[in-house]
């Protein structure tokens, strides 16, 4: 399975960046059927990229803040630590060797 390798799924992912949407709203902007959108959403959900919630009778989909956001947080922290160590070394007065 290639969660973001499919152009339709990338388009859906892109739409959800601006906020929650229903299947119907997503399908309205795409040249695919609602069942097809639902199928793509299932793949995105399984990949941990998208979550759903109920709003009255509607199901709304949005990006999962714990998905790639979590990965991003790890990487940010990784480089924050590495760059702090780098800065210290780069600014250390060069000692006679």
């Amino acid at each position: 399975m290639d969660a973001l390798g499919d152009p339709t799924r990338r388009a859906i992912f892109e739409q959800l960046r601006s906020g929650s949407r229903s299947v119907g709203e997503i399908a309205a902007d795409l040249p695919v059927s609602r069942p097809a959108v639902s199928q793509h959403l299932r793949v995105l959900k399984e990949a941990g990229l998208v979550t759903e919630r109920r709003n009255g009778t509607r199901r709304l989909y949005r990006l999962d803040p714990n998905g790639l956001g979590e990965l991003r947080r790890y990487v940010e922290e990784y480089w924050t630590q590495a760059l702090a160590a780098f800065k210290e070394e780069a600014e250390r007065e060069r000692r006679a060797s």
Partner: protein, 148 residues
């Protein structure tokens, strides 16, 4: 690059009080002197770490057991301005791309780091979740290798 890939790109920048040449050399040739190996390496206490200064060059550590672990290969090499590497420190995981730029700023240097290509990890997370229900932790364990 598509927009969502842009969105997942990690960007960091730090200003250091030295010339770009010195910053570039410290970051690359002298990586062994500053890299936080205890938390950011595969063998934790490597014997050496090498940044081969040319396109196609390798970035790797040599563990206490003499085993080499490759971190990256150099895609662009333009001292003292920038370098780009294909970053594949986690074996079996998709590779990502790391670019570091060294820009003069006042008497110092702004070091801008961009780590991109994380959308490739979407699939890995899905597999990890299906198997272990712990998602990113499993995917990232070999990459982050956090201290206990």
């Amino acid at each position: 690059m598509s927009t969502q890939a842009q969105d997942l790109t990690v960007r960091k920048s730090v200003v250091v009080a030295c010339a770009p040449e010195h910053a570039f050399e410290t970051f690359t040739a002298r990586i062994y002197d500053w890299w936080p190996f205890a938390s950011h390496s595969l063998s934790r206490q490597p014997e050496s770490a090498t940044f081969e200064p040319r396109v196609g060059g390798r970035v790797y550590e040599v563990g206490p057991d003499g085993k080499e672990h490759e971190w990256a290969t150099v895609l662009a090499w333009e001292p003292p301005t920038r370098f780009v590497v294909d970053w594949h420190v986690s074996e079996g995981q998709p590779s990502t791309e790391l670019e570091v730029r060294f820009l003069p700023e006042g008497d110092g240097t702004r070091v801008e780091l961009e780590h991109r290509g994380w959308e490739r990890y979407g699939d890995e997370a899905a597999e990890a979740r299906a198997g272990y229900e712990s998602g990113w932790d499993v995917v990232l364990a070999p990459f982050v290798n956090a201290t206990d």
